[in-house]
């Protein structure tokens, strides 16, 4: 074996291969970002610095997202934890038989983050100060595959508790003398022993929580028995079931379980917040919040994609996080310039000869004449560039972008404040969050197409009454006092406030003056703040702009890909002489065997006679052989038209000739058959065929996509 430990991966007798870890000593593998398209523009330390920048930016964004999500789900987590602890304290008296406490959680969005949080809260170590309950709980998790039948389900539940590490130590079971491992009595005994060993009284004894993940996938027939068995042991065995469901309808339990089962359960429901509101909230608080400055600002294309994906395909938070992470990853791996996002590398590292390409591309971006305003002096500018000056301009660009982005966030908050005020006063606002999704608003803001809304607001402001004006000014002032950079606005508001008359009835002129002043200022202020981010120099370092999201990473078109691989294999090939090949149509005979067969498949009806399919395949191969022969003069198997009748012709000819020709023909026949078998089995392997017993040697067509 080469190298002693590299297995032969082509060995067909083995199903798995182990390749040991062999770190490359000469070139230790570090984690890197994907290679950039413009790798040549980078400098030596570039990739590492960019990776660090990516990590920093993403961690910052991720932490913020985590906090937002945490805040959204905490109330429900707390409520569920409380419910678990209370399950066996206030039981309704006078019931004919004890009811099994079941907590049903509807969670279409949060998924794993909520479940992790909940489990962590339930399993808090005793000495944690922030635990509200002195009582412990034991949690075991069940997934649908664990509960295929009743004994395996019971076994999972019993083992889930009994095998825990407790003061009892490891439970040793002797198969001959102990109870079966799916017997709930085993659990009862274990629990009793545990309570005695740890000296639990009725108050402090731990509840046993069984967590059923993806409850919709459990078999109701199995689960109703599990519920029955468990309900016979309560309250001695304080079991609590938590069902995690993702269907938004709360009646899953009622539609799939019988009344007899439901009667044994005491169901409590909890629903996590859901809907497009969550996504809006997340984007708002991460990218449009005055108090938080994201390192990378996402562009309208990405916001639209997020919204689309969330509302149409999969509204899970995990996907939102993944999309945002991929946006970051893509941003940092596409352009080497993104290394400048947080800080500029020092003069020393930039003045090395290896950094010249980087400097060049940077200088080009910074000083190249823009098409709109051709500068006459740019040649001089170009000559006067030094690395320190370059660094200075980068730093300036960074500051300018940051303040521009902040301006947008502040302006958004401001408009939102005014429009909310209008709504509260009973006027028609801008409809944000109601008729118009906030995501659309974000897109409009970033694209700078909010003029209409601003105009509308300014007109509305003019019409406000004195006391309304006073209220609005107060709110605006409060909003701006929290933002230290907006002193000018603060002063403006203060001066307007001072003019505003205290008396409500008199001086309508003054009211008009203040209202007009506010309205004019509002237009001017907002227009100065809401400038497109793309106008800032080097904007693409901090802003993803119109870069589309690589959606095929998450939402691929597998089917279309396979179909085009079969129908147009030449499009996947490398194009050397592109201009020539571009428009040339590829004949059917030029395609690989499987593609030929697949084209024939698409031409057929819902059922295919394998023999006829074979014959039609054969005709194409004959064309192929002829074309091949005529183009290269290569000795392809001897073949003439009218293959089927070849035999009769051959019989008439001379015996000697007959032998050779016959043999050649036989070989060709076998080859065609082998190629047909291979191509057909490949199509079968890809899932295009269904074998049917209805007609001898027929297959059913499964794909009806159109060949064009």
């Amino acid at each position: 074996m080469p190298g002693g430990d590299a297995p032969n991966l082509d060995d067909i007798s083995q199903t798995t291969f182990y390749i040991p870890y062999k770190p490359d000593v000469s070139k230790p593998t570090r984690s890197r970002l994907p290679e950039s398209q413009y790798q040549e523009r980078d400098f030596t330390e570039g990739p590492d610095l960019r990776l660090a920048a990516y990590r920093k930016a993403w961690t910052k964004c991720f932490d913020r997202l985590q906090t937002i999500i945490h805040n959204l789900q905490t109330p429900v987590v707390a409520a569920v934890v409380e419910e678990v602890h209370r399950s066996y304290t206030d039981i309704l008296p006078g019931l004919p038989y004890p009811e099994l406490p079941v907590i049903c959680i509807t969670d279409p969005i949060f998924g794993s983050s909520f479940l992790t949080e909940l489990t962590n809260q339930l399993e808090l170590p005793e000495d944690t100060p922030d635990s509200l309950f002195s009582q412990k709980t034991f949690v075991t998790h069940l997934h649908p595959p664990d509960c295929g039948n009743i004994s395996s389900a019971m076994k999972s539940i019993v083992n889930g508790f009994v095998e825990r590490e407790t003061t009892l130590g490891k439970v040793k079971r002797k198969p001959a003398t102990s109870l079966a491992n799916y017997d709930i009595t085993l659990l009862s005994t274990w629990y009793k022993a545990l309570c005695e060993a740890e000296d639990f009284d009725a108050e402090s004894r731990p509840n046993l929580v069984v967590f059923l993940h993806e409850f919709e996938q459990f078999d109701p027939i199995v689960m109703q028995d599990v519920f029955y068995i468990c309900s016979t042991r309560i309250p001695d065995l304080p079991l609590v079931f938590i069902l995690s469901t993702s269907s938004p309808t709360t009646s899953w339990l009622h539609t799939s379980y019988s009344r007899a089962t439901l009667a044994r359960l005491r169901v409590r429901r909890f629903a996590l917040p859901s809907g497009a509101k969550i996504l809006e909230d997340i984007i708002l608080k991460t990218f449009f919040d005055v108090e938080f400055e994201p390192d990378v600002m996402i562009g309208p294309a990405n916001i639209q994609y997020l919204q689309d994906y969330f509302t149409r395909y999969d509204s899970s938070l995990d996907k939102v996080l993944t999309i945002l992470q991929l946006i970051h990853l893509k941003h940092f791996s596409s352009d080497p310039l993104t290394v400048l996002i947080h800080a500029t590398p020092g003069v020393t590292s930039l003045s090395r000869p290896t950094s010249f390409n980087f400097i060049d591309s940077l200088a080009e971006r910074l000083y190249a004449p823009s098409t709109q305003t051709p500068s006459e002096t740019h040649a001089e500018d170009w000559r006067s560039i030094t690395i320190p000056s370059l660094i200075k301009s980068i730093d300036e660009a960074r500051t300018s972008f940051r303040s521009r982005a902040r301006g947008i966030r502040v302006a958004f908050g401001f408009i939102n404040l005014v429009q909310c005020f209008m709504v509260l006063q009973g006027y028609k606002g801008l409809g944000w969050g109601q008729q118009i999704s906030l995501c659309d608003v974000f897109v409009d803001i970033l694209e700078g197409s909010l003029e209409k809304d601003i105009k509308y607001l300014s007109i509305m402001v003019r019409k406000l009454r004195v006391e309304q004006l006073r209220g609005l000014l107060e709110e605006i002032q409060l909003y701006f006092t929290n933002i230290p950079t907006e002193e000018e606005a603060q002063a403006q508001i203060a001066s307007l406030q001072s003019i505003l008359p205290n008396d409500d009835v008199s001086l309508s002129e003054l009211r008009g003056q203040v209202a007009t002043g506010l309205s004019d200022w509002l237009i001017g202020y907002l227009n100065s703040r809401l400038t497109p981010l793309e106008e800032s120099p080097l904007w693409d370092i901090w802003y993803t702009g119109l870069t589309p999201f690589p959606s095929e990473l998450l939402n691929p078109s597998v089917r279309a890909s396979i179909l085009s691989g079969l129908l147009r294999p030449h499009d996947f090939a490398e194009r050397d002489n592109e201009s020539e090949e571009e428009d040339r149509e590829v004949g059917l005979w030029e395609l690989p065997d499987t593609s030929i067969l697949f084209k024939r498949y698409l031409d057929s009806g819902k059922m295919i006679n394998v023999y006829d399919w074979f014959e039609s395949f054969k005709t194409v191969l004959e064309t192929q052989a002829e074309k091949g022969k005529s183009s290269s003069g290569r000795g392809t198997p001897k073949k003439q038209k009218g293959k089927g009748k070849g035999k009769q012709k051959a019989v008439e000819s001379e015996p000697g000739e007959w032998e050779g020709e016959e043999e050649e023909e036989e070989k060709w026949k076998l080859e065609v058959q082998a190629r047909f078998m291979r191509a057909m089995q490949e199509l079968d392997y890809l899932g295009f065929l269904k074998h049917t017993g209805r007609k001898a040697d027929h297959v059913l067509r499964l794909v009806f996509d159109v060949n064009d």
Partner: protein
């Protein structure tokens, strides 16, 4: 009848006037080679003639979708000919098959996709590596066997970053246990206590090992995660547990067109836990990122176990395929070598009997003057005739002796028998086509 072709292909494409939006089936494609010219076969000529008669401009946006096609075809009666492939075409033996494919491969030039070019490949590899590091698992789709390129990825990239286990899940004899046993080759995994040999415990131990203090990473390369052994919910649960571990990275390939249905959206989106891993794993999932890896390569390795003599040989999987692979050689697909092996180990008398039957069969084939591409049973010999012949040649003097001679051949499928329809009793024949039978008989005669 022989040239009937695909009858249904003559049907005109229906419902071109229905107002249906164009279905974008060429999403991942340049789409520049629309309406490909289809090369000359009689059937195609007809079809083209019809469509030109339609004078439907090629840029028309109103196109029949797959839904229309489905309903059109289902509303009509399937019209196919009564030809039966397995009756009309003799199945190939493995030798014939591989010989034919080998000779075909030398004549054909295959299409080399751009993705396999070196420069592009390193880019793809570096991208995959960084995505794996960022906590995603990778799923490769697209037409063509992805085994070679993923193996390259395993040896060139993954082996330098951690332990690698390559899994050929497409093999019919693959079981989940193989995967775990292979992972246990990683030093240290077996040091932890294993309470029972149950597969769940094994999976849990592996999870705990890589979640634990050891800083090692595991790269799992799974060829065809959509293969039958991995389709059942249990196997999937184990895999999703491993896939959720931050230090286990999965790179898998799928080929089946409906493979994405294997995972629910929550499973395929569930992210790996970040930060310290708690002992109890509450969620499982794959965190897939999808990559189009169309290689256009043939599936020869994947289908190495498929029965090339049967039209359903590559279909389905699991139990059925396994049984097929283990079952004795298909009765009609006896190879020359196999026949020689059997003949070499039987008595002289038995060989004589075989010669007798074989020569008779050859004679009747030649009399018929057919090209041999049809059912061999028609050249069979009635048992009574054979018995008379055998007695005349002093091969077997009584029925019992003849039956015992035939027994050996029947057990190995070298002679097959059936009840003749016309009440003439049992008939016997050798399931070898003419030229093969000739060569076997020749060697047998030379040996004597």
């Amino acid at each position: 009848m022989r040239r009937s072709g695909l009858i249904a292909s003559n049907e005109d494409s229906p419902s071109s006037n229905e107002e249906i939006e164009e279905e974008d089936i060429s999403a991942s494609d340049d789409g520049d080679s629309d309406n490909q010219e289809i090369d000359a076969t009689p059937i195609q000529h007809k079809k083209r003639a019809k469509s030109t008669h339609d004078s439907r401009p090629s840029f028309n946006t109103i196109v029949e979708t797959s839904f229309d096609a489905y309903f059109t075809y289902n509303s009509s009666r399937a019209q196919t000919s009564t030809n039966v492939f397995s009756k009309l075409v003799l199945p190939l033996t493995p030798e014939e098959y591989s010989e034919a494919i080998r000779s075909a491969a030398s004549n054909l030039k295959s299409v080399e996709p751009a993705i396999l070019a070196d420069g592009y490949r390193t880019k793809v590899f570096s991208r995959c590596m960084s995505e794996l590091k960022e906590g995603f698992n990778i799923l490769c789709y697209g037409y063509g066997s992805k085994r070679d390129i993923l193996n390259k990825f395993a040896t060139e990239c993954c082996a330098k970053a951690g332990h690698v286990v390559v899994v050929n899940a497409f093999q019919p004899n693959f079981v989940m246990k193989d995967l775990f046993t292979s992972i246990e080759n990683v030093p240290g995994v077996t040091d932890q206590e294993l309470t029972s040999t149950a597969i769940e415990k094994q999976a849990r131990r592996i999870y705990d090992f890589f979640a634990g203090p050891s800083q090692e990473h595991l790269y799992l390369i799974i060829h065809n995660i959509d293969a039958a052994p991995l389709r059942n919910p249990k196997a999937e649960a184990h895999l999703s547990l491993l896939a959720h571990n931050p230090r286990i990275h999965i790179v898998a390939s799928i080929d089946h067109i409906n493979a994405p249905l294997l995972w629910s959206s929550s499973e395929s989106s569930s992210r790996k836990p970040h930060g310290p891993i708690t002992d109890s794993t509450t969620s499982r999932g794959f965190a897939w990122l999808w990559h189009d890896l169309t290689t256009l390569a043939s599936y020869d390795f994947e289908l190495a176990f498929a029965d090339r003599s049967s039209i359903s040989g590559a279909h389905g999987g699991g139990v059925r395929r396994k049984n097929d692979a283990l079952a004795p050689q298909n009765a009609t697909a006896m190879s020359e070598t196999a026949a020689r092996h059997i003949l070499a180990s039987v008595t002289q008398k038995a060989q004589k009997l075989f010669l007798l039957l074989g020569n008779k069969q050859l004679e009747s084939i030649e009399e018929a003057g057919d090209d041999g591409a049809s059912d061999l049973q028609q050249f069979a010999m009635a048992y009574d005739t054979l018995f008379n012949n055998a007695r005349d040649n002093f091969i077997a003097t009584n029925d019992t002796a003849l039956r015992s001679l035939l027994g050996e051949f029947r057990d190995h499928g070298l002679i097959v028998s059936a009840q003749a329809g016309s009440g003439s009793g049992e008939v016997l024949w050798i399931p070898l086509r003419r030229e093969r039978l000739t060569s076997v008989l020749q060697t047998l005669q030379i040996d004597k």
